[in-house]
Symmetry: C2
Subunit: 266 residues, 2 copies
């Protein structure tokens, strides 16, 4: 039996908690809900390259964690004729793609599905001490911050991490925050509440948590921070989602399409 775009959307939305989310970001941004799905491409962000790759894989439904037009609330800061927007809209239309934004739902699962994917990718399922609404706490065999960074880079396939604190410091209790949850209001209290040695987050404002950790280190209170990058912290969760969708819709090819780190170093 044919799988329609709406069938996949329904499957994603039933994962949500019961509370309605009228201001949520999740929705079918482009495409026809009644179209038959030839393949699903799951990604952190539907970049132009990802859209082309999805089409090349034979997929006509793209499930993107972040928005298509560089804004959480899908607000365009420019006219649709702006050349980059135009090129992207043109690609979506000419390739016949449906694009569903799946952000709030996956974060709102019993255990945040994005966090779950990161914990699995790091191989830390056996070390999780607690899941908070916006963070997880893991209790690892003691290692240095430098060793921790090497483990994270190897497991996530990253060339580098941004870090604060002394790489020679020993750490065991680590807080994890995915995406843009690195702000001081979330990450700073976590250190004290869970007696953390280190925090690993995706993205956050530079002079909040990083400066807190720098001050802590200067005050002789050993703390450290590793910053993964937003995409780098959330991609594993979208990869996990792709696996689950493949189980749910065995007749439809499901592809996880990774994005490379957006920054290079010069």
């Amino acid at each position: 039996m044919a799988v329609r775009v709406q069938d996949v959307v329904d499957a994603l939305e039933e994962r949500r908690a019961d509370e309605a989310s009228p201001n949520g970001a999740d929705r079918l941004l482009f495409g026809d809900a009644s179209a038959e799905v030839t393949g699903i491409a799951v990604t952190f962000m539907a970049t132009l390259e990802v859209l082309e790759q999805a089409h090349a894989f034979g997929a006509n439904l793209v499930i993107s964690h972040e928005g298509v037009f560089y804004s959480h609330h899908h607000v365009l800061p420019v006219q649709e004729e702006e050349p980059v927007y135009h090129a992207k809209l043109e690609a979506i239309t000419s390739l016949g793609l449906a694009v569903y934004r799946y952000h709030d739902g996956v974060h709102r699962q019993g255990i945040d599905g994005i966090m779950e994917g990161l914990v699995q990718a790091l191989g830390w399922e056996g070390f999780v001490e607690s899941h908070e609404p916006a963070a997880a706490v893991v209790s690892l065999p003691p290692c240095t911050v430098g060793e921790l960074a090497e483990h994270v880079k190897r497991r996530l396939g990253l060339g580098m991490l941004r870090a604060v604190g002394n790489p020679a410091m020993t750490c065991s209790r680590v807080g994890l925050l995915v995406g843009y949850r690195g702000g001081g209001g979330l990450a700073i209290p976590l250190f004290e509440r869970h007696r953390l040695d280190a925090v690993i987050y995706g993205e956050g404002p530079e002079w909040e948590t990083p400066e807190y950790v720098r001050d802590a280190a200067h005050a002789g209170q050993a703390k450290a921070l590793l910053v993964l990058g937003h995409a780098e912290s959330e991609q594993p969760g979208m990869r996990l989602l792709a696996d689950r969708l493949a189980d749910r819709f065995p007749s439809v090819p499901v592809h996880f399409v990774p994005v490379a780190p957006v920054f290079t170093l010069l």
Copy 2:
């Protein structure tokens, strides 16, 4: 005649535009407005180390662009007894420091004083085409993005920059945005409005402007982005402020206290 803390505050606040700013961030966070100023330390952010350095220089008034406690609105996410906060409060008290946050005022000068400092530090005073409220546009002799990055690193004393786009691309028209002005709502329209080849900003959300530039490059519309870091983009403006305060209060030693980049790479 003795210079009091309030005299310096008055000098800073008279630089403001006329409109009142009841929700502004600028205020005397710690210390006594009637105390005699033995020296002024000007910095991007009053880290614990900066506070100690200020004291070592004989300064008892610290002028900090960003807040002391890792939050723009000076809201503490933890109790004051939290060890890092406690160590910092203790240092401020025991070193007898006054700390004035000077953020909104310096950005609100006729030409944003932080922008002015960055333009001077880059040696681009002769290339400014226009000043917008939150950005400047410079028209430079054509060079590659790689050469532009080398110039910026050399002039600002930075070991590395984060970049998006092709380093071999030629650029001439460049937009500058200091601090946390790299968001898509500000930076993306700037590209089109001023036909920019490249944007250089301090800090911004990772999947907004950077992903726009990546898509543009993929669509064959040559664009590039250099990300300085928040502190790295604003320190030169605070250095300029220190020079101006030294002229204004010739009897008081004025020190600019730089902060090192908060991140290292692992």
